[in-house]
């Protein structure tokens, strides 16, 4: 049981490594990351009705092994760095016009050089998996020790190091209210939310540092400014892609950052869309949507158990459980595809919001909801 509980969270690490190998082998394999995303969407949809509870032994202790799970999360930092290096290597080959031919590396055939179409595949694969990998940046942001720095570094690979502070000190404290840019109000679509939430969280992080440094009598323009420092963590990625491909390299990294941040904000969008909390009152299970079908739970290391996570933010992901909060009943991959089409998403979510209004909302929350319905 212990092995099964811990091994089931290895889907993303294994698939990330497969994506890196696909980029390195080249040819049509550069698209493997995109193909995996599609396959995952099918699996998630087919298994949408399977919902499991967290596993505990007879003493009520979790089967999760903290050292193992943290080891994997820390291990993902070099994995995501390797993903960027693999993509940069392909961009370098493309701009250097390396002939496209089959070569051998210790007996393994790979394509040296890359065509334009397969380079697009490599960029899309890298962007999607950098975005999916943000789940580790999220989980580690709740760690008050070295994990917090690892979170900042993982997020910096997507140009979003500000997320770590904004998530813990803004999103978790101001959830379900206008003060939280990561909560999407009713009527907003996922595309608008991605932009507003990203900019809002960065602004929160900037204001936080501006206020902190002002109290210390220091200028905002300072290396002690953790908003500036967060962006500086992204500098190695920028230098690598500039060196590898000039303008093409910059365009590729920009695409990776846009895709990765879009996926991050999609998770925020799906986790809280349309839910409202009266300012000053405690965050409760009913202020988040659960997405805990079996594949989503294992793939996204239980990030879909938002109801429990937002009430017990310091709880390890493998201990989060179904608390019978609001639940879409389907997984993130399936819901993401629906949310890509705003009109379809609004129709889909209508019955769930009506259910929330009827069963979970207070009168004050309903009054706020009425302004946006």
């Amino acid at each position: 049981m212990k092995f099964y509980v811990n091994a089931r969270y290895l889907i993303v690490p294994i698939m990330s490594i497969i994506t890196i190998l696909g980029v390195l082998i080249g040819g049509a394999y550069a698209w493997v990351g995109v193909a995996l995303f599609g396959i995952n969407t099918v699996i998630d949809t087919l298994t949408k009705d399977i919902h499991l509870r967290a596993d505990f032994d007879s003493q009520g202790e979790s089967y999760g092994i903290k050292t193992f799970q943290y080891g994997i999360m820390y291990f993902m930092l070099p994995v995501f760095i390797a993903l960027q290096i693999a993509l940069a290597y392909r961009i370098f080959q493309f701009t250097a016009a390396t002939p496209v031919q089959i070569d051998l590396f210790y007996g393994i055939a790979y394509q040296s050089g890359i065509s334009g179409i397969n380079l697009i595949g490599a960029v899309l694969s890298s962007g999607l998996w950098a975005g999916l990998g943000i789940i580790y940046g999220h989980e580690l942001s709740h760690n008050k020790k070295e994990g917090f720095l690892v979170s900042r570094l993982v997020m910096a690979l997507s140009g979003a190091s500000h997320f770590t502070y904004a998530h813990v000190y803004n999103h978790h404290l101001d959830l379900g209210h206008e003060d939280d840019p990561a909560t999407a109000p009713r009527g907003r679509n996922m595309y608008a939310h991605a932009w507003l939430s990203h900019m809002g969280q960065s602004r929160y992080s900037y204001n936080l540092e501006e206020g902190r440094l002002k109290k210390q009598g220091k200028s905002t323009l300072n290396v002690d400014n953790r908003w500036i420092l967060g962006y500086l963590y992204s500098l190695p990625s920028l230098v690598l892609f500039v060196w590898a491909g000039g303008l093409i390299g910059i365009a590729a990294l920009f695409a990776v950052w846009v895709i990765a941040n879009f996926l991050l904000e999609a998770l925020n969008f799906m986790g809280h869309y349309g839910l409202i909390r009266t300012h000053g009152l405690p965050v409760e299970h009913r202020h988040s949507w659960d997405n805990d079908s079996v594949f989503t739970s294992w793939f996204f290391i239980e990030i879909g158990r938002q109801c429990d996570h937002h009430v017990r933010g310091e709880t390890y992901f493998w201990e989060l459980d179904d608390v019978k909060g609001p639940n879409y009943g389907i997984g993130y991959f399936s819901l993401f595809v629906i949310a890509l089409i705003p009109a379809l998403f609004r129709r889909y979510v209508e019955k769930h919001l009506a259910n929330w209004d009827e069963k979970y909302a207070t009168d004050d929350e309903l009054a706020i909801a009425a302004k946006f319905s």
């Binding site: 140009g159 900019m199 602004r203 900037y206 230098v239 946006f372």
Partner: protein, 69 residues
């Protein structure tokens, strides 16, 4: 409207930086690691300034809920 204004100013600022790098022949020297470092740092600073431009012009826009957005 403020978002639109911010995007215009951000686009102008990015164009100025991009033109500056072009006139300095950055596109011919980017594979020199010192140039790559300088270009990367310039782009990162340009990105941070873009964020600050947005914060200044768009104000509380990311925090405001409206009926249609």
């Amino acid at each position: 409207m403020n978002t639109f204004k911010a995007l215009i100013v951000m686009a102008l600022w990015t164009t100025i930086i991009g033109s500056g790098l072009y006139f300095l022949d950055a596109h011919k020297n980017y594979q020199n690691i010192l140039w790559a470092g300088g270009i990367g740092l310039t782009l990162l600073i340009a990105h941070m300034v873009n964020m600050l431009i947005y914060f200044k012009i768009a104000g509380d826009k990311p925090y405001k809920w409206s009926k249609y957005f």
